[in-house]
């Protein structure tokens, strides 16, 4: 068994072999691997006795259950109105320039993927940056770069 298959097997042991377990299992995979590879979706389908298409169809409904390869850290800049008014464009531009990627892309060293998100629930403290599960409110371009640099150092 590959590492992914072992992980999925454990997740299924924990959450059960029913369809109701699908979300927690997929979330568990994404928590470790950042996205759902073909291999992972097939393994989940097999464990839960679902069709692979069904797993893919379900996963692709959810923004956080990515089915495209992603970097080790996922940056999501809130693009909804409050953050828009508070300058999310400048944040995105700064990150794009700094990492030399466009929104939707992953850096060459696979450390970062830059994405946008809809309202993250911190509108009073925009603009907001979500890195993996961590929230960074009241961003300025400088602060954002600083934080990203920190992450870069922590990631190998």
């Amino acid at each position: 068994m590959t590492n992914t298959e072992v992980l999925i097997h454990e997740l299924v042991e924990k959450h059960g072999k029913t369809r109701n377990a699908l979300m927690p299992v997929l979330q568990g995979v994404v928590a470790r691997e950042k996205f759902l590879s073909e291999e992972a979706m097939i393994a989940v389908a097999r464990e839960l006795d679902l069709s692979a298409a069904d797993v893919y169809g379900t996963a692709s409904f959810y923004t956080f259950l990515d089915t495209k390869p992603r970097g080790k850290n996922i940056l999501r800049v809130c693009k909804t109105i409050s953050c828009h008014m508070q300058g999310k464009d400048a944040i995105i531009r700064a990150i794009e320039d700094h990492l030399m990627v466009k929104v939707g892309e992953t850096t060459h060293d696979k450390k970062f993927t830059l994405l946008t998100a809809n309202c993250l629930g911190w509108c009073h403290k925009g603009p907001v940056l979500l890195i993996n599960d961590e929230v960074f409110p009241s961003m300025t371009p400088e602060k954002a770069i600083e934080i990203i640099e920190d992450f870069s150092k922590k990631t190998n």
Partner: protein, 593 residues
């Protein structure tokens, strides 16, 4: 009972009835798109909305049960405007090039749009360029995303009726699509090519890969000798696409039409259906003997039929552990092709390489089947082209043949004669019934103990049917079967097949013989049959099949004189050396994922 009023007309219906059904009973037609009688309710297209007095929202009539005192208006101003908006929205997302569309004239969306005759489109065209690239990877099924209205009928079909789930809805919002696992080509996924999704797709988004031009080309080619074979279920459905009512038997007219179209010989798959019974019946008895007398553990029981290529591919993907249970018999279509290009070509003095075998099928999976690498035992591609019943209807129209006015024609001989047992292959339970008629007689010398040979327990539209027949008064060769209760089961539609296979795998079932047809109702409900389909339509086709059987002078496969002739002249005996070479095959394990 619930009392309500629809368009001011009172009506009383059972609790749980939907507004749509209640309106139908009063002959008020409400347009629908996502709703289909064979499927669960989705309620997503919204064209069926109606106004319910006192409600803030319009109600989707297909998804809303009636309630006491309800007052429904199916054509109020609000309803009309909403319906028009919804249709216009659908069209704005739709690549409406009807004149070039394979479903032109058979399309529910087109029909609805024609009722409204939209002049100027107010909305912006949203068709994405990438959606215009069709998926023609599969030899059976074509998919054109630019024609898809996201009604999800295909997804529900593939899941609910077929348990395959090759199709799924992916993404959300404006990116929502109907697709396969990771958007792979249909030919690379678990799709069985059954075509049931095509039968229920209201638009031209799903349709068969068609080979009409190739067949015309072959017919026009003076160097080609084109032989056509027709499957049992085509003769009770073809008429539907040519202006006749469901359940009309058009065997003779179909033969005449084929002859007029220019086929050199018009022959019958029913002949090889009879041949199949000889081979498969013998195979069953041999397996029983090996298992019961010789105690040979390698012999797998229950034996399962193999004449439905959708079912065969399903088994290869889903239950590879049960592949040895499948009969090694090819489907009648492929037996025909293999015999045509060997025995028959010799007999009529035609070089096999100059022969083109075209088969008319109720089925899309057979298009895939004829392309399998195993299906070249004549040294050539045994069957060159498979056309659906629908394609044949189109060709008849193209040829300018007035079908209704045709005289009945007769099949050519040899490979043209058949029995009632062969005809009933076209409906669920038919192969089982035909096999039992022959096997019982081989074992006992007597006819099966059912009135008029009609084995009622295996007939009808129940998803899984079971029967047992006690074998009595065996002939000496078969006395090991004396007193044995022969247990058989019949399933149609792959979801039912799955139930049966799970029962077999769990060891709970002790059947000797199982018939499975991939499509609901068997071939009469095949993926290549005229659209629309419903339980009612399938029932009428099945009735026509049994009527055809009753009308045949010979109703047992082993009594088909042409079959006897072919054994005498060529094959010698069932499961003989030549049979093995030409009429039997093997299966391969495919990935479920």
């Amino acid at each position: 009972m619930v009392n309500l009023k629809i368009n001011n007309t009172p009506i009383q219906v059972e609790e749980g009835t939907t507004i749509l059904e209640a309106a139908k009973r009063l002959n008020f037609r409400i347009p629908t798109l996502c709703n289909h009688p064979d499927l669960t309710v989705a309620g997503n297209c919204r064209v069926c909305v109606v106004e319910v007095k006192g409600a803030r929202l319009l109600a989707a009539s297909c998804a809303t049960p009636v309630s006491e005192g309800m007052e429904v208006n199916t054509n109020s101003e609000k309803v009309r405007i909403a319906r028009k908006h919804i249709l216009e929205l659908l069209l704005s997302e739709h690549n409406a090039d009807c004149t070039k569309c394979f479903k032109n004239g058979h399309c529910e969306l087109q029909e609805l749009a024609s009722e409204y005759r939209f002049g100027d489109h107010i909305f912006i065209d949203l068709v994405k360029a990438k959606d215009k690239i069709r998926d023609i990877s599969s030899p059976s099924i074509s998919k054109d995303a630019s024609k898809c209205i996201r009604c999800q009928r295909c997804v529900r079909t593939c899941a609910e009726l077929q348990s395959v789930c090759a199709l799924a809805v992916a993404n959300k919002g404006d990116h929502q699509v109907i697709t396969t696992f990771m958007n792979k080509p249909l030919n690379d996924v678990v799709c069985t090519n059954c075509g049931q999704c095509i039968n229920r797709c209201p638009t031209g988004a799903l349709y068969e890969r068609n080979y009409i031009e190739d067949v015309w080309h072959a017919i026009y080619d003076p160097n080609k000798f084109v032989v056509v074979e027709t499957a049992p279920a085509t003769r009770v459905a073809l008429g539907e696409d040519l202006g006749l009512d469901p359940g009309m038997r058009v065997t003779g007219r179909m033969v005449s039409a084929l002859r007029k179209m220019g086929f050199n010989k018009v022959l019958d798959t029913d002949f090889t259906a009879d041949l199949t019974i000889m081979e498969e019946g013998t195979e069953l008895l041999t397996r029983l003997k090996k298992a019961l007398v010789d105690k040979d553990e390698t012999v797998k029981l229950p034996m399962m039929t193999s004449c439905s290529p959708g079912w065969v591919k399903f088994q290869e993907h889903m239950y590879p552990g049960l592949l040895d249970n499948l009969s090694t018999c090819k489907s009648p279509q492929q037996m025909f092709g293999a015999l045509a290009k060997t025995y028959y070509a010799d007999k009529i003095n035609i070089k096999a390489e100059n022969m083109v075998v075209v088969s008319i099928m109720p089925c899309t999976a057979k298009k895939f089947e004829c392309n399998r690498s195993e299906m070249r035992d004549s040294g050539f591609k045994d069957v060159d082209y498979v056309l659906t019943t629908r394609e044949l209807a189109m060709m008849i129209k193209q040829a300018g043949i007035e079908f209704e006015k045709l005289e009945d024609g007769n099949y050519d001989s040899i490979l043209g004669q058949s029995t009632g047992a062969a005809v009933i292959f076209g409906t669920t339970g038919g192969v089982m019934e035909a096999a039992l008629r022959t096997a019982y007689e081989i074992i006992t010398g007597n006819e099966v103990p059912f009135t008029n040979l009609n084995i009622k327990p295996v007939r009808g539209m129940e998803g899984v049917k079971e029967a047992s027949i006690k074998i009595k008064n065996t002939k000496p060769d078969w006395n090991f079967l004396e007193g044995v209760e022969l247990n058989v089961a019949v399933a149609h539609g792959l979801a039912n097949a799955k139930l049966l296979m799970d029962a077999v795998n769990s060891g709970k079932a002790n059947y000797h013989f199982i018939e499975v047809m991939g499509c609901p109702g068997g071939c009469i409900g095949g993926g290549g049959q005229p659209i629309p389909t419903s339980a009612e339509i399938r029932k009428r086709r099945a009735e026509a099949i049994y009527a055809e059987d009753m009308g045949k002078p010979i109703r047992k496969s082993h009594e088909n004189p042409e079959v006897t002739e072919v054994y005498n002249e060529y094959l010698s005996h069932p499961l003989g050396h030549k049979s093995h070479e030409l009429l039997h095959t093997h299966y391969k394990v495919r990935n479920r994922y």
